[in-house]
Each structure stands twice: as structure tokens, then as C-alpha cells.
């Protein structure tokens, strides 16, 4: 969930922004050493892809729909560092272009999406990826969304925006389906890429 401005208290904003900013600083420093020039247009276009993919409404039963966040997907494809920068950029542009998420809450949104999903989600995937690529992708995508939801709920609760028990239950149940959806969509996309252009699954993960 993209948290709008006004929903988080100052202490929560400061702590989450500190985490996001430090990771951003570290990533940019690391990238300056590791990235090759041809990666830049790839990251840019992949970011445009993630941004676009998030708009697609996947129909589920009973008229509801689910959207792909794509953070774990893009990290599996390009690596955690790329995934982190791509999803951070997407969060920022979404705030400006669609008012999806606020500007001072961007630090918290970056933490919930780029740090928890793109980075942590990737490492969860890595635990399984050697022997269980597809199940690993599902578990990683699902848990990343679910953990992010829990952290997001905590941020809102600590800020006093929503009540503790009811808030946590509401966030977790709604994101249960989102997580399952993310898991299935991620796995299906990876499967399709394997069929059409398997080399793309072997890109160097940065």
C-alpha cells in the first residue's frame, strides 16, 4: 500500500526515511563501482515496465481485482540493487504523477516496497532458487508483500492513524489476497519468459 501524506507521524517518518536514505546512499555508491553503461537503459526501461505493469488490473473472483507490485519480480530478473533503485524510482514518480503515495511519506513507502520487497524479497528467493526456482519465486513474492503489509500496518498503528488490533487484522487480511496474487502473477510471468526468451532469466544479477 502506498501511504499518503498525513497518515504517518513525524517519528515514524524520520526513522523510515533514515533507513531508506541510507540504503539509497549505499546503493548509489555501490552502483557507481559495479554497473556497466549498458545496464542504465535496461534499468530505465525496466522501471517503465514495472510502472506500467502496476496499472494492470488482474480480475479475480467476484469482481475484485489485484495489482502486481513487481518488486520481487524485477529483483529476480535484474538483481536486488537494480530492483531497489527501480522500485524506489517508481515510488517517487507514482507520488508525483498519480498522487499514489505522498512526498514526505515517500521514505516509508520506499522502505515498504523497495527495501522489504525488492531487497528482502530477493534474498528470500535466493534461499530456494537453486533447487526450487518457481516455488521460491512464489514464496518470496508472497512473503514480501505480506511482510511489507505488516510493517506498513505497524507504521500506521505507531503513528496513531489506525487502531492496533482492528488495523493489523484489516491490513493483513486484505494483503493476504494481494500476496497470493503477487505470487501467482510473478510465477506466471517468469514461466512465460522462460518459454519465450529463457536467456533473460540468466542476466547478471546486480
Amino acid at each position: 500500500m502506498h501511504i499518503p501524506d498525513g497518515f504517518l507521524s513525524l517519528p515514524v517518518l524520520i526513522s523510515t526515511s533514515a533507513v531508506s536514505a541510507s540504503l539509497l546512499y549505499i546503493s548509489v555508491k555501490k552502483l557507481d563501482n559495479e554497473i556497466r553503461p549498458e545496464r542504465i537503459p535496461l534499468m530505465g526501461l525496466s522501471a517503465a515496465f514495472v510502472f506500467t505493469a502496476q496499472l494492470l488490473s488482474f480480475p479475480v473472483f467476484g469482481g475484485t481485482s489485484v495489482h502486481l507490485t513487481g518488486a520481487v519480480l524485477i529483483s529476480i530478473l535484474l538483481g536486488p540493487l537494480s530492483g531497489f533503485l527501480i522500485t524506489t524510482s517508481a515510488v517517487l514518480l507514482q507520488a508525483f504523477l498519480f498522487q499514489h503515495g505522498g512526498i514526505i511519506t515517500a521514505g516509508a513507502n520506499i522502505m515498504n516496497i523497495a527495501v522489504v520487497q525488492a531487497v528482502l524479497g530477493y534474498y528470500i528467493f535466493r534461499i530456494f532458487s537453486n533447487k526450487f526456482y518457481i516455488p521460491g519465486a512464489f514464496i518470496a513474492a508472497f512473503s514480501a508483500v505480506f511482510i511489507a503489509a505488516a510493517i506498513c500496518a505497524s507504521e500506521l498503528i505507531i503513528s496513531g492513524t489506525i487502531p492496533l488490533k482492528a488495523g493489523m487484522i484489516a491490513m493483513l487480511t486484505s494483503h493476504l489476497f494481494a500476496g497470493i496474487g503477487e505470487g501467482f502473477i510473478t510465477v506466471m510471468i517468469l514461466g512465460m519468459i522462460k518459454k519465450l526468451k529463457p536467456g533473460l532469466l540468466e542476466l547478471k544479477k546486480i
Binding site: 499518503p4 526501461l45 499514489h100 505522498g102 489506525i162
Partner: protein, 211 residues
């Protein structure tokens, strides 16, 4: 999906448009910060004056009101469930939620105004001057540039599928949409290769070809 693209109103001319982009960004960030920090009772006093201020800015800027209202209302689907939740499960939940709504409504209104009167390239240039990481600026620029193209391609694929399969809905579409996204990613990858070639032809060596 028609997307209200950024440049639409940011290219107009008004005293607000002519203000320095850096000034506008800082102003909005400070305003949103204040809206976040102010205790609840202060919010009730200052809500109306702040709203009036923003409306005055809107009027001077000559940006269509309908557009601004439409963009600001995207907060509604988030606010309403929260109001409901809090009214039931929180002590004095309703008044608390109303204050929350005011905070976020005014914040989002200021953000919408900022974006309506400032060009994308000006915001990027300002961020760049403030030493925002160059790689991020490049990624965001690419994202902005290719987003419209990709959404167009995605819509074309969806339309083609719907024509063929008659919009079966449910599980069938779920798999097909995943395929569409897979194809979209592959296309993006292949386009990235050609863009890199274009950059090479213009002398790109990793250090950016822009001033």
C-alpha cells in the same frame, strides 16, 4: 486509460508557473510537514485558512479546477475505509479520522498544485542541482519517457486479446494478462538494447551525454 500527463498544465503561463521550481518544491514539502506535525486542534483552526490559500494559488495559476479536484479525490478510496475502521474500533475515532482526512486532503491538494504548475524537466533539473543521485534521475527520466509508450503497447495487446477471446473474465484472463506482461518485459529488454546502441552512436560512455 487516459493519463493526465504532467506537461499538460505545467506548460501554461501564470505568476505561479513563473516561480522558481526549487521554491515551489520546498514550499510544498514544508507545508506537508507542517500538516503532519501540527496537533489535532491546530489543524481544525488552520484548515480553512490553508485551504483558502491553496484555492487562491489555484485560481492565480489558471489550472482547470476540475482537473485538480479529480486528482485530489484519488485519496477518497483510502480515506473512507480508514474513517470507517476508526469510527468503530477507535476511541473518538470519527473526529480523529476527520482530522486525518484534513491533513491528507490538504497535503494532496498542495502536491497536485505543485505538479500542475511545474514542468517535469524543471523538477528533474532542480533535483539534479540538489545533488540527487544521477542514476536515479536517469532512471526516472527513462520511466517518464517510456511509460506512455508501454501503456499504449499494453493496451493494444489487451484489446487484441479481448477481441479474440471475448473477455472471458476470471482465471482465463489472469493467465493471459501475465503473458502480456511477460511479452511487455521482453519488448522492454529488446528496446533497451537498441536505446543503448543509439546512446553509443551519440558518444555515450557511461558518464551521461547531458550537460
Amino acid at each position: 486509460m487516459r493519463h493526465s500527463f504532467w506537461d499538460h498544465f505545467s506548460g501554461l503561463d501564470s505568476p505561479v508557473h513563473r516561480l522558481s521550481p526549487g521554491l515551489k518544491i520546498i514550499f510544498v514539502i514544508l507545508l506537508v510537514l507542517v500538516l503532519t506535525i501540527l496537533p489535532g486542534d491546530y489543524i481544525s483552526y488552520s484548515a480553512l485558512p490553508l485551504l483558502l490559500l491553496l484555492i487562491i494559488v489555484l485560481v492565480i495559476s489558471r489550472v482547470p479546477v476540475k482537473h485538480v479536484v479529480k486528482r485530489t479525490l484519488v485519496i477518497l478510496p483510502l480515506i473512507l475505509p480508514v474513517i470507517l475502521l476508526n469510527s468503530i474500533f477507535m476511541e473518538s475515532g470519527l473526529s480523529h479520522s476527520l482530522i486525518l482526512s484534513v491533513r491528507s486532503f490538504l497535503s494532496i491538494l498542495s502536491l497536485v498544485l505543485l505538479v500542475s504548475v511545474t514542468r517535469f524537466s524543471d523538477i528533474m533539473k532542480t533535483l539534479s542541482r540538489w545533488h540527487f543521485p544521477r542514476i536515479m534521475i536517469m532512471i526516472i527520466s527513462f520511466m517518464y519517457r517510456y511509460f506512455f509508450l508501454l501503456t499504449g503497447e499494453m493496451e493494444k495487446m489487451i484489446r487484441a486479446v479481448k477481441l479474440r477471446s471475448g473477455d472471458t473474465g476470471g482465471a482465463g484472463m489472469f493467465r493471459i494478462y501475465s503473458q502480456i506482461l511477460a511479452i511487455l518485459f521482453i519488448k522492454s529488454y529488446e528496446r533497451a538494447e537498441r536505446v543503448y546502441q543509439a546512446m553509443l552512436m551519440r558518444g555515450y560512455d557511461g558518464n551521461g551525454g547531458v550537460q
